[in-house]
Symmetry: C2
Subunit: 453 residues, 2 copies
């Protein structure tokens, strides 16, 4: 099973630029693929991506990560240095390495649209390709879809908790799992209804609005808080002053003073930010102070280990906020840090296939999902006609996208509309270990599955 | 606060190759930096990275991510397209953009060694640089150190739970938060004592041994399980057969038959893998069947949502395993998916600085950490002489590493040695909300902090 420690440079340095030179792949995908080649199992096979039900605390999922995946599939290839490395492992023969050198993904992909509200248990992506290709893309497919869907789903919960009026900003980069995760988190949270991200790289790459306030270290870089506020207000067109570096009630008084000075100069303070302490109580006190001082339009922006539960509690306790910065608990999906998305063989030359090991049953064959009124889904065999709108459509043929990447801003608007029109039972955010999903199987699919047991 | 939606391509495509073209940075680092420039706050400042205490369920941390960070610091720069994007935000003036164009990290860094056992509350990295540089690297520093230390710490717990004899393989790529996270997870878990990873890209990049078995989809690609086992055993030099695609006890009988066939051909079956069901009971049954059939050296490899608690329980219930594949719960640090590592201004021209907001106090000034017998640490002011071994040493001067990257295999051996020599109170894996850490502050540091309150 284990391979000799290869004689390559063991420097241990992270070279991000090199990432595209190799495909993310688990070793066993390669050893299995070599065996498929030797055994002549090179015909077409279909695999389905779905999330195992139930997912604790998730009554709906927001599907995301498709476009990054299609991009990875279009680029899927093993470079010269990958092949040299694999040869050094002494696990692979020349015919297989030659095959790998030529290998590109040439398959067909059906998938739900990014931002679609979906449920565990239903197929979200179907891959049909020569078996070796379909097998080798498993790792990268699961990696990209699982994380993006996880974060989009978490973001959607936060959008629901904050309500349609609140501004939400992704503050997660410093706690996300690496710099690429920060990019995925910004994209997926924007797709799911957030307004902006603090992540400048994501802003540039995806055209997402960027936003930010100021840090405690800025305040501490000046002899006192008031000078820091004055300097920042002078230098920033829409200043939001962080008032809790020392004492938040003293801080808000300093902010009021700066707001008055700005007004004399013909400008308005944009807002203040609270980042610690009893945020609900503090926000009420701050609102009162600002209103009484004649600054009812100065916004209150709240941050500090927020998530959907804390925002719900903040609002229930009368907290007042124009917007929220949500970081750590968004980017790592704090209450559920991984999604049980799997990729299973569902059909090959032997016909529909299914796995039957305890607790890990999969649906057989290529399926379609039909979205009916009120988010009640019907899963059918692919060639059946259900009622409602089919969720899976072809997105890749012959290894090439059939349509341009989605317009994120447009998709975001559609997601927000869907979220705020969810039936109450699905919009409910209360924790639940074993949610039930409105997913029905067609009689034909049921009898196909029964026949395979 | 929020910027206009910039007129850049909103394609939303993930281009990994482009990642090095821009530094990961939160917007506010840039707006603050511009203000520092305007205000003439360009002198040196020191920031400390530490993890806020307490960290639930973590009696020790394994520090990791330093070398990836030093690499990022050496490359820290804004490219042409970054600058064009920033200009389009209409937040930055020409003098600042010109400064950014020239900006490289030129500072000094002191840090603990990767793999060092450390505690929350003590400084692990000290950065001293012109204030703008020190401020701008905050986001990437926190991102890289927090995740690597999080996973190394989780991996160390799994190493302790599995015991010194067990083989541990990182199976996390499909559930890690992106492809870069999978690379970090492989590196950090190997550093913390794992034996191998399934991640071929990580194997190539870091010289980590790679390992793998077979998937359910392989078994399902053949007319029946026995043919699948025969094909795999024929095609793999060290086959581990996955026996639970259909019925594990039937599967083990098929594996025994293949083991006998291999022996006739002068080979030995390497092992079998269990991935579902009651793993402890199943492993005992499988061990008995293998032993009785004359295959006492066939290894049992166990996987399936494992972590340190489940491995402890597996062993406590008499489970028998040569090795464990640990995926999801390792790579996302399931019970604690983010680390509260922060980066705080500790010193500038005004002298030592500290933040005093409720629950978020930081230590003032540049400090040193002294490791005494039995992992009892003393934190002193940097120029004090403590007793024991100083943990922080200079790793970067003038923005350049002062030593080559660590030898991961060597560091890994040292980490395993440290882990298995921890005092019982620190090696204890039982959950605890508020662990106490053996970290003492020197009288001089205490009085410095008191003077700053």
């Amino acid at each position: 099973m284990s391979s000799p420690r290869p004689g390559v440079d063991a420097a241990g340095r992270l070279r991000l630029a090199a990432m595209e030179q190799g495909a993310l792949v688990d070793l066993y995908e390669l050893t299995m693929a070599q065996s498929y080649l030797r055994q002549g199992l090179t015909g077409e096979a279909s695999f389905a991506y779905f999330v195992r039900a139930p997912v604790p605390h998730r009554r709906v999922l927001v599907f995301a990560g498709l476009d990054p995946l299609l991009d990875a599939l279009e680029k899927f290839a093993f470079g010269e240095d990958d092949l040299a490395y694999l040869e050094g492992l002494e696990l692979f023969d020349r015919p297989f390495l030659t095959q790998l050198e030529r290998l590109r993904f040439t398959g067909e992909v059906w998938a739900a649209e990014e931002g679609e509200i979906v449920f565990p248990g239903e197929p979200l992506v179907l891959v049909t390709a020569p078996r070796i290709e379909a097998q080798l893309v498993e790792t990268v497919l699961l990696n990209l879809l699982n994380y993006a869907t996880l974060v989009a789903t978490k973001a959607a919960r936060i959008v629901l908790a904050a309500g349609a009026e609140a501004v939400l900003v992704d503050f997660s980069p410093r706690r996300d799992h690496g710099t690429e995760a920060a990019l995925h988190a910004a994209r997926a949270s924007y797709l799911a209804g957030f307004h902006a991200t603090s992540n400048v790289l994501a802003g540039k790459r995806y055209g997402i609005p960027v936003a930010g306030t100021m840090a405690h270290s800025y305040v501490m870089s000046f002899p006192d808080e008031l000078s820091a506020f004055r300097a920042f207000a002078h230098d920033h067109p829409q200043p939001i002053l962080l008032v809790d570096t020392y004492d938040p009630l003293q801080g808000i008084r300093h902010a009021v003073r700066v707001a008055a000075e700005l007004r004399e100069a013909g400008r308005e303070l944009f807002g203040v930010r609270l980042d610690s302490g009893d945020l609900a109580a503090l926000s009420q006190a701050v609102r009162r102070i600002l209103d009484e001082a004649g600054f009812p339009s100065v916004r209150i922006f709240v941050s500090g280990d927020l998530d959907e539960e804390r925002i719900r509690e903040f609002r229930a306790r009368g907290g007042v906020a124009w917007g929220y910065g949500v970081g750590t608990r968004l980017g790592v999906s704090w209450d559920l840090p991984a999604l049980g998305g799997v990729y299973k063989l569902v059909e090959d030359a032997h016909g529909p296939r299914m796995k039957t090991s305890p607790g890990k049953v999969s649906l057989p064959g290529r399926c379609q999902v039909w979205r009916r009124e009120g988010f009640r889904d019907l899963v059918t065999v692919a060639d059946e006609i259900g009622d409602g709108r089919p969720l899976l459509r072809v997105v890749m043929e012959g290894g090439r996208r059939v349509a341009p990447p989605p317009d994120l801003a447009q998709r975001r608007a559609a997601v927000r509309e869907s979220l705020f029109s969810l039936p109450p039972a699905l919009a409910d955010l209360a924790p639940v270990e074993d949610p039930r999903y409105p997913v029905e199987l067609s009689p034909r699919l049921v009898s196909l599955a029964a026949g395979r047991r």
